[in-house]
Structure formats: structure tokens, C-alpha cells
Symmetry: C7
Subunit: 94 residues, 7 copies
């Protein structure tokens, strides 16, 4: 099964956070703030969304930063995804 | 009796959740969060809705993910339906 | 006396709920949730409403489902009506 | 002195409620809910209001139903009026 | 010193309320509700305000009724004024 | 260092209030309400701001009245400024 | 790794505050209010954003003042950034 987003929606999969603190200690996922980095899994077709022309600017595989409180969490086949509008994606990480 | 949605509205019927946890235990419906998967039962004609042109992109029979807090629950002939605007449908599940 | 709605407004009369539970017990009106089914009594002319072109899509006599918290209750000659905007009507019941 | 409303504003005068309950008892004004029926006293010129073309559809002398929480109460020469926008008028009573 | 309002703003000076109750008792200013009548002191040029064309319809010297909670109180040379947008003026009193 | 405002923003410097009460007592700055008079220090270029054409109508050196709760306080080189949108300026004081 | 902002977004890096009080005492960063000065690190392409044409007016290296409550804090490679919309940037400091 796969998710096919509508309009300007984008399906994201959160990236595991495995970050080293400045002092060099690696924090496991639980002890950290929810990371906002995610990978783009699927991209809607864009077009006219709520009366406004939207051109999609992200592509499958992009690593992105998205807005902290945006999006809807969705579970499919035991995997968790986040569906956001493209306007909730702040930047691509290259 | 059947529901004929107006404008950009879509009639949904929630799908029964019968999901297996990672550890393999099957949870009955009650013990789970409200699932957001639904089947499309009827689709409005679209057209100009609140001054904006809306083209309908879902079809009867599609399985869809919809926004958690959207929609109005409706009971007809003992069956429960949810009526949402198409913009509250996030993705089609294929 | 009769109500002639302005713009995109529609006058509704709530339908009496006399529904049978799955187990076959008939609930009197008081013991039920407020039903959202209503009959269309009068329909405004539509046209440009708050700067947007509105085409009326319901007709007198239609049975409709309307949004739970919408509308203004009005009493005229001892009868109760609800006046809603057409956009608060979700579907026609056929 | 008289009130000349601007834009899409309408000056209303609330009608005295003298309604008979179903059981035939006449309730004096105090014991009733605030009635929403009013007579149109003066009508603004309409035209472009906040960037939108508004055509006035009510006329002096019309009896109207207006939205419960709308309008500003105004006292002039000891008389009380309500000034509403035309879009707060739901229906004309004929 | 004088106030020259920008855009669709209007400078008002509240009128002293000296109203007689129905029973004939004259209430001094303190014992009354804040009156909403004011005199127009200065009128902005109108034109395009926040993307919308606004034509000024009040003139210096007009007595007007304005919306109860609108406007900013301003003190200049010991005099108090209220600056409102023209859309907060409900009616001219003639 | 100087502040160069963007779009329809205006940099203001609050004027010291040194006002005499009606009874003739001069109140020092602390004992008074925050004055809303300010001098214009810098003016943005205007142009299309959030999709709307804005023409700047204030000039450096103007004394203006601005909306009480508007603007962002900024400190630069030990001086305090307020940056507002032009639409938060109510009137020029001449 | 670097951040490539989308649409009208701008990546900022907050400037260290090392300000001298009027009395000449230098306050260390902790004892001060959060400074609102930042350096522009990356600028989105602009273009049509939510249906409105946006022209980018800041450039990499600019020192800017931004709105106190705007933006999303982001951590990348141990560095902290703030991503804001250009409309949350109030002024350039020259």
C-alpha cells in the first residue's frame, strides 16, 4: 500500500535523530526533542489549491525541515508518516 | 436513501481498523485510536465553492486518509457516515 | 406569514426523529441527539454574496443534512425554523 | 433627528413581541427571549463596501429577521435602534 | 497643532451627552453609558487602503454614530479625540 | 548604524511626553500613560506588500500618532526605536 | 550540510549580544533579553507564495532585525538557525 497525496500535500517520513551534544555524548532518540528533519516520500500534483496556483518545489528523496506543529500523523502498514502541506516545509537540507 | 453531497463535499465511510501491533498482537477496534482511513461513498460535483474553482480529485470507492478533526458525522438508516470537504482529504491509499 | 430568505440563505424545518436503534427499540424525540435532517422550506435568490457568486443548489422540499452548529433558530407563528447559509448544507438525502 | 446609515448598514427598530404560547397564555415582553424581528427604518446606499460590491435588498418598512448577536444598539431622542450590516439580515417576513 | 488622518481614518470628537430620561430627570455625563455620538473633526484622503478602494463618505462637521469598541483614543493639546476607520462609522445623524 | 525598514515598515522614535494637566501641574514622563506620539526616523520603500500595493504617505521628520499596541520595540546603539507598518500610523500631527 | 529555504523563507543566524548599558556595564549574553539581530545565511527564491508574488529584498550577509515571536528554530550540525518568512524581517541594519 502507498499514500498518494492530494493537491499541495507532501508525505514525509521522520528521520531518526542521532545527534551528538557539544560535549560529545550521543543522545538516544527518546531523550531528545522531536526532530524536524524528514525525508520526502511522496509529493502531490500541486495545481490550483484553495483557489491559488501551487507549484511543487520538493521531490521524493529530499531531506527537509518542516514546521514543528504542522501536519497529520498517519500509520500505514505499521509505518508512521506525516502528511504536510508544502507551505509547511521550511527548507531542503543539502 | 442515499446522501448526495453538495459542492466540494465528500461522503466517507470509516474503515474498520484491525491492525496488528509490532509485537504481533491484534488490537480490537475499541483499544485503538480512531482510524483515519475511510472509503469514499459519494462525491460532490465541485465547481465554484465559496468563490473558488474546485476540481474533484477523489472517486467513489477510493480509500482515503482524512484530517483527524475534520468532518461532520451523520447517521442514515442506522449507518454512520462522515461528510468532509475534499480539502480535508490528505491522500489516497493505493 | 412566511420567511423570504436573503442572498444565499435557506430556511429549514427540522424533521422529527423517530429512529429505531439496532436492537429494535424506538427512541422518542427527547432521548436522542438533535437530528440534523431538515426539509427545505424556502431558498434565497443567491447571486453575489459577500463578493462571491453563489448558485443555489437546493430546492424547496429537498431533505437535507446540515452542519451541526450552523444556523439561527427562528420562531414564526408558533413554528420553529432554522435559517442557514447554503454552504452549511452538507448533502441532500434522496 | 434621523439616522442615515453608511455603506451596507441598515437601521432597524425591534418589534414588540406579544406572542401566545401554544397553551394560549400571552407572555408579556419581559418573560420572553429577545425577539429577532425588526422593522427596517433606514437603508444605506450600498455600493463598494470593504472592496466588495453590495446591492441593498431590503427596503424601509420591511419586517425582517436578523442574526441574534449582530448589530449595535443606538439610542436617539429616547428611541432605541439597532444598526446592522445587511448581511446580518437573514430573511424578510411577508 | 492638528491631526491629519491617513488613509480611511477619521478623527472624531465625542459629543457631551446630556440626555433626559423618560421620567424627565437629566442625568449628568458620569451617570450615563458612554455615548457613541461624535463630531467629525478631520477626514483622511481615502484611496487604496490595504488593497481596497475606499471612498470617504463623511465630512468635517458631520455628527455620527460609531461602533462602540472601535477606535483609538488620542490626547492632543489637552483635548481628547478618537481616531476610527470610516468603516467603524455606522450612520450620520441628521 | 542605521535601520533601513523593508516593505511598508516605518521606524519611529517615541517623543518625550511633557504634558501639563488641566490644573497646570507638569507630570514627569513616568507618571503618564505611554504617549503615542513619535517622530518618523526612516520609511520603507512601499511597493507590493503581501500582495497589495502600498504607497508610503509619511516622510522622515513627520510627527505621527500610532496605534497603541502595534509595532516592535528595537534597541540599536543604546537608542530605542519602534518599527510599525504604515497602516498602524493613524494620523500625522501638524 | 546546508539549508536551502523554500519560497519566501530566509535562514537567519542570531548575532551574539554584547551590549553596553547606559551606565557603561557590559552585560553578558545570559543577562539580556533575547536579541533580535541576526545575519542572513540563506534566502529563498521568492516568486508566487500562497498566491502572492514575493520579491526577495534581503541578501546573504545582511544584518537584520526580525519580529520577536516569528520563525522556527532549527539545529543543523550543532549550529542553531532561525527560519523566518521575509515578511517577518522588519529592517536591515547598515
Amino acid at each position: 500500500m502507498k499514500l498518494v497525496p492530494l493537491g499541495d500535500r507532501v508525505v514525509l517520513k521522520q528521520l531518526e535523530a542521532e545527534e551528538t551534544t557539544k560535549s560529545g555524548i550521543v543522545l538516544p532518540g527518546q531523550a531528545q526533542e522531536k526532530p524536524q528533519q524528514a525525508e520526502v516520500i511522496a509529493v502531490g500534483p500541486g495545481g490550483v489549491v484553495e483557489g491559488k496556483e501551487v507549484k511543487m518545489e520538493v521531490a521524493v528523496g529530499n531531506k527537509v525541515i518542516y514546521s514543528k506543529y504542522a501536519g497529520t500523523e498517519v500509520k500505514l502498514d505499521g509505518e508512521e508518516y506525516i502528511i504536510v502541506k508544502q507551505s509547511d516545509i521550511l527548507a531542503i537540507v543539502e
